[in-house]
């Protein structure tokens, strides 16, 4: 695998990079599996991890958020800010796999279609 975070543990959010599945087997692409809760306490960890991947040259970042039990606007901010950084670098942030909690917040913010992978 080209990009590496290892596994970043936090009290209530766990991030793991995995090899892309066939649908996203593009160069400069990386898939990040999130598990837990994204709020004001854990959002900085996610920002730091995404910054690290962008610094390593990742341009298509796919977040797997199927196991995110909770997300509030702190998570939304990370998605918007990291999404903007990637866009400015000619890349893209997508979310493939959404828990109900993640979908609800993106829907309210009117950003569901912008970030949904399929």
């Amino acid at each position: 695998m080209r990009f590496r975070l290892g596994s970043v543990d936090h009290d209530s959010l766990e991030l793991t990079t995995v090899a892309h599945d066939e649908g996203h087997a593009e160069e400069h692409g990386v898939r990040v599996v999130l598990r837990g809760e994204i709020d004001v306490a854990t959002a900085p960890k996610l920002t730091a991890a995404l910054d690290e991947l962008i610094a390593q040259g990742a341009r298509l970042v796919v977040l797997d958020a199927a196991d995110v039990e909770f997300m509030d606007s702190s998570g939304l901010r990370v998605i918007v800010q990291s999404g903007t950084k990637l866009s400015e670098a000619g890349g893209r942030l997508l979310i493939d796999g959404m828990s109900g909690a993640v979908q609800r917040v993106l829907e309210i913010a009117g950003m569901l279609e912008q970030y949904r992978a399929t």
Partner: protein, 133 residues
């Protein structure tokens, strides 16, 4: 901290210290109840936004009070008399928009000792229609 008149004893009454773990702590307290006619996820989301605002924009902790009635009502008391601001560019601005979208009504009561931001949820049945009582 000032109590709000006109309401019965709250079903949840939880004081929190100012700290990044406060929103999670409050969500855990609210999870202990089965909320009537309102998605639990929505109650947790609104509470998390309000408590996050206290943590980011005030000097001290606060207190969450919640009533599992009709409507479901949340109050977050803090020690700052500055009302919350809805601005996308500020931390918390997106949070208030979320509250605005979910809650049937919400508002701020300024008190001599700080403020109360309150939010109410209309009860709904599972298909999204208001539940007849």
């Amino acid at each position: 901290m000032a109590s709000t008149e006109g309401h019965n004893r709250p079903d949840v009454d939880h004081e929190f210290e100012r700290g990044l773990s406060a929103p999670r702590e409050v969500r855990d307290a609210l999870l202990k109840l089965r909320w009537h006619g309102v998605p639990t996820g929505d109650v947790l989301l609104v509470a998390s936004e309000l408590v996050t605002n206290v943590v980011l924009h005030t000097e001290h902790g606060g207190r969450v009070r919640a009533w599992n009635g009709d409507p479901v009502r949340l109050e977050v008391h803090d020690t700052s008399s500055r009302p919350p601001v809805v601005k996308d560019t500020q931390p918390g601005g997106r949070g208030l928009r979320i509250i605005d979208a979910i809650c049937s009504s919400w508002g701020t009561t300024i008190l001599p000792t700080g403020k109360v931001v309150w939010a109410e949820f209309d009860r709904r049945s599972s298909d999204g229609e208001p539940t007849p009582i």
